[in-house]
Amino acid sequence: MNFDLLAQTSCGLYLGLALMTLASVPKRDREPRQLWSFACTIAGTLLAYCSGSLVWFTAGWALTVVPYWVWIETGPRWPLTAGTLALVAGTALHSVPGAAAQTFSFGALMLAVLLRKGIFPLHSWVPGGLEQSPPLLLGLLLNGHLGAFLILRFAIPLMPEAASLAIVFLSGLALFTAVYTALLALSDNRSLRILGLLAVSQASFMLAGIENRNVEGITGALVHWFVVAAATTGLLCAYRALEARYPAVANPAGYLGLASHAPRLAVFFSIFGLALIGLPGTLGFAAEDLLFHGSLESHPLLGIALPLATALNAITMYRLISRLFFGRSATATPTIPDALPRERWALAGAVVFLVVGGILPGTLISLRSVPAERIVALLGGQ
């Protein structure tokens, strides 16, 4: 067990997100298969966060993939399994002495990260998976961000020299992924694909931020983790609530005008979306500011690519909000119920987290800067 500050904050956030998700799951999704899947995913992620050894971490990681073999018939079974096998291979090789074995071990761990995080060219399964499998379940799996955790907790401390070299390559790919998926989302109309692409794009900044090798940049990446996790989970919960009421939201043929009957769901969705792209007054602004400044010293390219990808994502997000909630009169809009009390309180919790965290970000940032300092020391940064 290793329940340090990184694990504590990650567990705290994840438990909050899990509670929000479970509270807002539509009734039709509350069947035993899905509930077991949720339990498995949550347990696996928490086990991975608390693990002190690569073996236990691998066990937790693998547990999150089990639902896709046991209970969920469709979904990103193969990419998740490939990532798990890469992690198992990396873990097994790590116990083998010798430089070659260590090199292969590290390579396998990096492959696991690329697959799990959906980094280019292995990113397509994320938007596809959201469309093909229960989105809330996959959202919880993705928002564990076990790929980033694997790098921070094991890859860098166990193999700092190899990690130092690999992270340059990895962050370059992450940066490319951020802009590439932002471009892809710009011309898509399918709601879940857009959400998946935006989630991948914004989450890529976490890996890119680690390359900064300074405390502000890595702290920014770790705070951005909070933002991406809370905002995308909130977006998926609000989306699923809408989809359960009106399935046409999956591929809107035009403007749906749902705000007239579901104004609170519209507001929740909009706040989560705007927080994801760094709206001032939300935690996303502070996170992106730290990432931005962290990149000044060591990685100016990130300083240019980050605003570009964020601008593209902002336009896509605004377009999605418009298509779902605006553009039709109340009489031409299907009558759907607004957020139910349980949904309202669950989503309001995440909104409060993002907004209060945005107004008073000091506490959250200080919680993340301690692990960031340790990582910088391991990477030999400033």
Partner: protein, 449 residues
């Protein structure tokens, strides 16, 4: 009460009003129209009084009021400092904002009566006022970005106020896209300031009292910053080549058009350039670019104004013309004149926008008082230009300078085509899974026809 606290209260008051109204709505409390309007107007009345107090202090003591909020957050060597300043540049515009937003809030009590989005309108008005105050009073450009972006999002949401129709929704997407692309200039400009000048704090970059400040920014960094900030300012102030969003923004309610596109929001670009006036003075390349953009916009605006067929668009193009002149004044190094021009122009345009729905009535009253139709004025182009050129100019103005077509064909369509081409590698194409080329950035196809 210390002046620092008064300054803080002026900036924070609309944010508190916004949060209070939002929280009450979220927990299900339904406020009457009267309560919403009175709360908002009381806030702006208080802000006006507070600005007057700050102004009196500035006049009598000559000292700039500043509020130091210390470190907002920090990590490693980086600290985000919270600081506000009410100096000779920001205070007149803060006062103008408090007065005009309060006035528009009061006017809207009746204008927006029984509109479905009455509360939404006042919420966005408060959010906009907070964003504007933050932009104007920010002591650092890092903080200014926060206010700048809040103005952008509240502006787009107000353009889409009548969201039952697709026109305002598409218009809002166009406005939002233009703003976000323009914001890149501001973000990268701040990046350059940090990278090359070591700070984005006003007091560090521009020591002295406005408008007699010096600068610690070097010529190269100054030119880079000036050009990047010009990019952002041009987008915010609807200057060429970003001006095509302005007529679409007229889809919003008239009071919001008055405060955004007649008074405050469009002038924030000019304010940004006034804030970096010492940099422009030290970097002739940037100053020349500001001047050229200003002249082009002034000519462009006056041409388009002459063919506009609705009152609000006509006023908006006239405002664009004056903004071009203000840009030119800044480029030529007349900051006091530019500030005076901004204040006067904002007041006149607000009045014009608010009276726009009654324009015919006003004309009839003026004509009746004058005892008949007044002689037509202006028409200089009509008298001075040869007919061939006039026809070309007419066509040019009718097509809004072909800027929409250029933006659609040269920027939006290639980006969307590229995006679709990439998408083909990702997932099999499905019918209706991609938006029309122009829709992705809010550029309407019908404008191309």
């Amino acid at each position: 009460m210390p002046m620092e606290t008064v300054l803080l209260a002026v900036v924070v008051a609309p944010a508190l009003s916004f949060l209070l109204l939002s929280a009450l709505w979220l927990i299900g409390v339904e406020l009457s129209e009267r309560v919403i309007a009175r709360l908002t107007c009381s806030v702006f009345l208080g802000m006006t009084a507070a600005c007057a107090t700050l102004g009196w202090s500035l006049l009598t003591t000559g000292a700039t009021t500043s509020w130091d909020g210390g470190v907002w957050f920090h990590a490693g060597k980086y600290e985000f400092l919270l600081g506000l300043i009410a100096d000779r540049l920001s205070l007149p515009l803060m006062t103008l904002t408090a007065v005009l937003v309060g006035l528009v809030g009061s006017f809207s009590r009746r204008y927006m009566h029984r509109e479905a989005g009455y509360l939404r309108f006042y919420l966005l008005l408060n959010l906009f006022a907070f964003g504007s105050m933050l932009t104007l009073a920010a002591e650092s450009f890092d903080l200014l970005i926060g206010g700048w972006e809040l103005v952008g999002i509240s502006s787009a949401l107000l353009v889409a106020f009548f969201n039952q129709r697709s026109g305002p929704v598409r218009g809002a997407l166009h406005v939002f896209s233009a703003y976000r692309i323009g914001d890149l200039g501001l973000l990268l400009g701040v990046f350059v300031l940090h990278y090359l000048a070591g700070s984005a704090e006003d007091s560090h970059l521009f020591p002295g009292v406005w408008p007699m400040q010096g600068t610690t920014v070097g010529p190269f960094a100054g030119a880079m910053t000036g050009l990047l900030f010009l990019f952002a300012a041009a987008a915010k102030s609807a200057q060429v080549p970003f001006s095509s969003w302005l007529p679409r923004a007229m889809e919003g309610p008239t009071p919001s058009s008055a405060i955004f596109y007649g008074a405050i929001s469009v002038h924030l670009g000019a304010y940004l350039l006034l804030r970096i006036q010492p940099v422009l003075a030290a970097a002739p390349v940037a100053a020349i670019a500001v001047g050229v953009i200003g002249v082009l916009t002034a000519l462009f605006g006056t041409l388009l104004h002459r063919v506009a067929v609705d009152a609000k668009s006509s006023i908006a193009y006239a405002a664009m013309t004056q903004l071009g002149v203000i840009f030119l004044e800044i480029a030529l190094g007349f900051p006091r004149l530019a500030l005076l021009h901004i204040v006067g122009h904002a007041v006149v345009r607000t009045l014009q926008f608010l009276r726009a729905p009654s324009m015919l009535h006003d004309y009839h009253r003026v004509h009746a008082a004058a005892g008949g139709h007044l002689d037509r004025t202006g028409e200089h182009f009509e008298r001075l230009l040869p007919e061939g050129l006039r026809r070309w100019a007419y066509r040019f103005a009718l097509d809004r300078g072909f800027l929409d077509v250029l933006a659609s064909d040269a920027v939006v369509a290639p980006v969307i085509s590229f995006s679709r081409w990439l998408g083909r590698w990702e997932a099999p194409p499905k019918a209706a899974c991609t938006p029309p080329a122009g829709e992705a950035l809010g550029v309407l196809k019908e404008t191309k026809a």
